[in-house]
Every structure is written in C-alpha cells, then in structure tokens.
Symmetry: C2
C-alpha cells in the first residue's frame, strides 16, 4: 500500500512524473490478458537507473510494493498491483546507449522496445533477433524470459542478454556482468534475473547480442492437409540440424482470421510460415531440403518470398495473428496457453489438444513456435463470463498436465505471473521452495512485484 | 571438520565406499593447478542421487563440509578441502541414462566424462559439443560453467544443459527443469547452479543437448607471422557471422612444445587451428572465406584435413597442448590465466599481455579460444617456488585489470575457486554481496564447498 508520506516523498522526487490519474492507474493495472484490471496506487516515470534506485529506496523505507511496467504486453497478469503500490513505468528510459558492431553487442535502457532497437540497428546492417510478436520492451522481455519466432535459430532472451543493470528491492544497483562473450566468474545473476518477472530486481539497462543482417533471407508459406503433417515436417527439419530461422504453425482457424483481417487469400488449412537466413546458396539449400521434407508430409503449393517487402507482408500477418484471431469475436480477450514439450512429443501433444478443443464450446485456435516444441492455444473469451474463463482454464489445466507428463513446461515463454502459479509446483516440486528461499534472500520484505511467480 | 560420529555414520552408510587412505586423501586434495594439496578428511564414492542425499543429510546434521569431486581437472583449487570435511567423489556415478535422438538430448549421471558420453553418442550419429580439453566429468563441467574449443559455435555448459538434478546442503533433492527446449516457469535454477562450483548444490544428474554429427567436417592449420594477424583473422570471421566451429590460437612457444611432444613439424610461429562443420558445400564455402580473410593478414601455407583420422591427430595436438607445454619444463605445474574480453579488444589485450610477458623471467605461452575473446597464458612454474608463483600471480593480476578495463572477465571458463576470489569483487562490485545472500539462503551453514567463489 502507498502511504501518504511515501506518496509525498515520491512526488517530491518526481514532480509531474508521478501520476495518480484514474486513466493512468487503469492503464497500468491491465496487460493484454484476460486477467481483471488491478490498478496500482500511483504510477511513476523514472528517466534513469539512479531515479529508479531512489524510488526503490523510498518504497523500501515505507513498505510500498513496486511493480515494474514496460509496455503492458504481458499475458499472465504480471503487472497487476494485487497489493497496491507503485507501478514503475520504464517507458521514458527509452535510449539506445551504445551499438558496438565490432563486438556484436548493444546497450539500451530497459524501456527500449525491440522494434525501436531494430530501427537503430538495421541501417547499420545489424539486428536483434528475439521477437515475441508484440513490440515489447527489452526490460519486459528479459523479465519474462521471452522468446518467439526466431528462437529456434537465435535463442531466447536467456541466450541473448550479456549483462543487466538492475535495482534491488532496497535500492542497491548491480551490474550482473561485463561484455565478454562468456564468463565463469561467480553466480549467474544475469540468468537469475531473466525470467524473475520483476520479483527479484528492476531491470533498468541491458546489453544484448546483435547479429549481422543475413546476406540472404527467404520465406515460405507451406499449407498442409493436417496439423500433423506440418508439425512432422518441422520436427524432421530440426532433427536433421537444418538451421531454420523461423518455423511457425497457424491452424486453419488462425489462417482464416489472418485472411479476413488482412484481406489475404491463404488456403484455409494448417500452414507453416518458414524463414531461412544465410548465404544465398545456403538459403536455397535449406529451403529445398525443408520443402523436400514437406513433400513427404503432403505439403500443398508452397509460396515463397525473397524481397523484403513481400517477406514483411507475410510476417506481419503472422505477427498480428493474435489480434486477427481476437477480431473473430469482437470484445473478446485472449486466454492463451503456452506449453512447450520435447520435440518428439509435439505432434502427439497438439493432436490430443485438438481433440480436447473439438469437444469444447469455446472458439479457439492453435499457433505455435513449433521448432521449439512450443505452441499456444488462444481462447477468445468474454472477459466478463466466468463460465467461459473456467472452461478455458480447465482445458489449459489439462494441456499443462499433458505437457508435464511429456517432461515439458507449463510456459515456454509467457511466464508465471498470476495465471500459472498453481502449475509452478506441479512442474518444479521441491525446487519451488528453493525459488522462495532466493526470493526471501533478495527481497525479504516482499516488495518487488508481490504475489507473482512464487 | 569430520567428527568421529559423522565418520562412523557415513561408514555405516557406505562401507567400503568410504576411504581415509592417505593416497586417496592426497589425490582428492589437488586439482591440475599450482594450488597446494589440501586433502579432505575422507572420500566417499556414492552411486546414486539418493546416496548423495543421504551423505548430505549426515554431513548437514554434523556440520561437516562437503566438496563435490569429479575427476580433479579443475584449475583454481576448486576441490581443496580448506576446512576439511568429505570429498564426494562422483566417479562411480558414470552411467549414461538415456539418449533421445528425436529430442536431441541425453541424460547422464554427473560422473560421466565428456569422452564417455561421446563414446555412447558417436555410434548413433550424435555428439556432445562442449570440450574444455581435459576429459572432465559433466558434473564438474557444469559446476565451473566450462566451455572450450567449440563454444564459438555451440555455446558453453550454460547453453547446453537443459536440466539438472542436484542435492542441496540439507539433503533435499531438486530437479531444476523438464526437457523442453525453453521455459519461462520460475527462476532459472539450472543456470544458478551452473557455475556455482559446488557451493550451492551437488549436481548428480544432467540432461544435455546433443547434436547430429555434421555431414562434413574439415580442419585447417594456419600459420601467421604475428599473433595480431591470427587474432585479426578470427575477429573478422566472427564479425562476418561465419559459423566457424573451432578457432584456436597457439603462440610460437606452444607450437614448439606440441611439435616436440608429438614429433610434429608445424612452423614455429603463431598458428590458428580451425574447424568447420556443415554440409560439404557450406564447409567448403566457410573455409574459402576464412582463408581469404587470412590472406589479408599474411597467412602462410594452410594445411587442411578432412579425414577423421587426420583431423583427430591435429586436434589431439591442440588438446594436449597444456601437457606438451608443461613438458617443456619437467616438474613444473601450470598457473593458467583465463581472461575473456569483448572481441574488438582481443588483439590489444593479447599484444599488451605479450609485452608484459616479454619483460618477465618466466617461461610462458599463450593459447586461446580466440573466437570467444578468451585466451590463456600458461606459466610453467615450480610449485615450490614462492617467487615464481608470486611473479606469475602479479602478471595475472595485471592481465585481469587489463581485461576488466576492457569490460571483460577475470575468468572465461575456469571459474573462481580459490585462485580468483580477490578478482570477483573487482569484477562484480556490489553484485558479490547479492551472490553471498543467495549462498546464505541456500546453504546457511556454509557446508557446500566452503571458501570457494564467495
């Protein structure tokens, strides 16, 4: 809770950059998920790590919860202020501090979004690969250990962050590592903070890996008569070590939604969106190999695109699939599942899930980063219908149980937040107690994003 | 310290698999470094995770230090029993439990060495890439966050471990993750344990990524007139995104040692050992590109090898370079530095280091995983000469300061152990206190490998 004294102190520090307007509070109490709006008591807009540290010291002294906020694109209620407190909105920390092509790294404040970073990198011939779809902030992406369409080739935030600056619960500032490509110096605090969802520290600055723009890129859209054919094609591709850059599945419902939303005419059937990066010869070789594997799985007519303009149009359709799908039912919000399983289990997991969905009354679609063994079911629910949320939650529960039986995870990339806390123990058992011990050690007063993860 | 009661209890549990023989104690008190022998009070040889848990419960109840021991190939005194206690030798936990080609992963007990694992994988057409040179155990490699010659392409232990089973200080057993390729479910305990050097838990089982044997492999040995030419060639190769699989530098002293040790006739000049993995066309393309870059840096006559037999001979020379170098001075032991810097700084860092070495009276050589920005100076010191160890230590201190000024690390892959504790604070500042808080939370009685890291 935010006491009047703490509020006055924060206002003294931040002036106009503290807001208690109802609009701002509401906006900071909801992410892109079905979770109910749970607004904070105030929103602050720091502009530097020092300011965040100052805010944390004040909140710590007065026992005020702190909820870091990027752009609000999380999907499990991560930013809900369930105990009140202050939303620390990092959107004004939006400067790219350094791009170092010779080291293949860049440093940015936590409020920089991935598109903004790429806007700076692209003219220099580089890019940052992690791509969760939404134009999330780098800080938020690190906090949820985000991944996305390119993870099959380039890895997730776990793999692409070299170093973090973070503010701890009591206002101390740490830098977790230098910029060397690897280090064995002490505990891996970088990876401890990545995925901690704001519960162990507030990430204020990141140094990330960047990559040279591939010499050649080509994309392919591959329709299949069945989901199994599409998934099997990707599984074989990965097993053969073909370094595919993107391998996205859209089921027939999602393709239909994308067609309607964008005025496109893809065959309404399970479809793979693929992308290949490399030298012109290697891209050609990869594409031929994958299309060959597709042929063994009854792929239809493959459409390819090599020009940037054509590829961007194609990928825009994939990226906005979530919004296209939600538009199928105006007013609905997404309850989105996120299981991830070992590759050999993926086809079975999706098939059993589709059987479950077929028996449900809910409108739902499956899209997935199938190269990672990760897929999402999007339930288009009425956020005010308890029955619909319960039905979707129950289907999700069954899906998580299925994934855990297959030695997978309840969340490949969205995180635990509020929505998956019950599953954390099912997945990790005794290890959850260890997570709690770490939490208590670093935030003994439970002020950093309380009620999330553990 | 090991009390008589605790000793009796452990003997009751383990019988013949507990030893207090002087030979065994001595063997478990020394790694491959210059650090003095510091034997434990007893050595135990558990055969299962349950047995390790049982041992931990006993040691915890009696306040007995526990030092996990793999094969003793660490380089910073990691296994020294500075407070006495029990060395937990995992060498009998040497079973490969599962190989899952369809998931590209394998599960093994912690005492399995990397060569043993590869011996199981290779007939099936797969391999485990992390290669620190020594035939270390997987548990030890995870504990030190080891990397090595293939890290430039395949990553380090941080990147190649999917999941761990570990025994905590009080005997609780945790499994840190399932086998999904990625997960956002809670804190990354896998990465917290990797690099914790036995101070947070005893790793007993690992699930690691495996890779299909590349369709084509070729190797090249490239002599250069200067170290700068060799290093610049690798830096450009990485900056251009050429997916080189290995890029090892040996300076002229190391090449000379290897020639003598193996009866070879390489030009005694700074030399790159390179390896390329991929399709036959891609391997050819990579090799031509890199040799072209070498040409801009005055490379001499390049020797290549494609047959497995020839490549193995070549790489055996590189792998045994440390032993070859130490053989230059019989009776000497290695004091080995391990700095790692951002790539753009590597040539300067090595040049300044060579200038320093030129002014020293010590016999020393530079070898390095230059694709990662990581190199080692091997000082061949008389382990009984305080003056030599002090001189080498002072040169190392200057090297670490240089690396930290360049935003690098004091250890790219060997770890902190006893030898680099002073540097940890210089590198991490306030973050070391956070590491201590984590240590206190998970091992409040300081029984797990006490005195190491933090």
């Amino acid at each position: 809770m935010l006491t009047p004294t703490a509020l006055a102190e924060l206002r003294g520090q931040l002036g106009e950059r503290l807001s208690t307007s109802e609009t701002e509070l509401q906006r900071h109490g909801r992410d892109e998920s079905y979770h109910p709006v749970t607004p904070p008591d105030a929103v602050v807009y720091p502009e530097s790590t020092d300011e965040v540290a100052h805010i944390a010291r004040t909140c710590h002294a007065h026992g005020v919860p702190m909820i870091p906020f990027g752009i609000g694109s999380s999907l499990e209620g991560h930013i809900a202020a369930i105990d009140g407190g202050v939303s620390i909105d990092l959107s004004r920390m939006n400067r790219v501090l350094a791009v170092r092509p010779d080291d293949l790294d860049a440093t940015a404040q936590a409020g920089v979004t991935r598109r903004r970073l790429n806007g700076v990198l692209e003219p220099q011939g580089y890019f940052f690969p992690v791509d969760p779809g939404a134009d999330a902030t780098l800080g938020g992406m690190a906090a949820t250990r985000a991944s996305g369409t390119t993870t099959v080739r380039y890895g997730s935030m776990r793999d692409n962050v070299l170093s973090l600056v973070a503010v701890l619960a009591d206002g101390r500032v740490i830098r977790t590592a230098g910029r060397a490509a690897k280090s064995s110096a002490g505990y891996d605090l970088t990876r401890l903070l990545i995925g901690s969802e704001g519960t162990l520290g507030i990430i204020t600055e990141l140094t990330v890996r960047i990559y040279g723009t591939p010499e050649a890129i080509s994309a392919a859209v591959c329709p299949f008569p069945t989901v199994e054919g599409a998934v099997t094609t990707v599984i074989r591709t990965i097993q053969l070590g073909i370094p595919i850059a993107r391998a996205e599945l859209l089921d027939e419902v999602a393709v239909d939604a994308v067609n309607r939303h964008h005025g496109l005419d893809y065959d309404v059937t399970p479809t793979l969106f693929l992308e290949f990066h490399g030298s012109p010869a290697s891209v050609q070789e990869q594409m031929e190999e994958v299309v060959g594997i597709g042929g063994e799985n009854s792929v239809g007519t493959v459409r390819t695109a090599t020009r940037a303009e054509d590829r961007n149009r194609l990928w825009r359709a994939r990226h906005e699939a979530l919004y296209a799908v939600l538009a199928l039912r105006p007013g609905s919000r997404g309850l989105i599942t996120d299981v991830c399983v070992p590759l050999s289990q993926l086809a079975t997991c999706i098939t059993e899930t589709r059987d479950d969905l077929a028996r449900s009354s809910l409108l739902a679609t499956i899209v997935g980063h199938v190269g990672d063994g990760n897929f999402h079911t999007v339930f288009m629910v009425d956020p005010d219908s308890r029955a619909e949320i319960e039905e979707a939650t129950e289907l999700n529960r069954r899906m998580v149980e299925r994934a855990l039986r297959m030695d997978g995870t309840c969340t490949g990339e969205h995180g635990i937040g509020l929505g998956k806390k019950d599953f954390l123990r099912a997945e990790h058992g005794e290890a959850v107690e260890v997570m709690r011990e770490v939490k208590r050690a670093l935030d003994p007063r439970n002020l950093l994003n309380p009620g999330k993860v553990v």
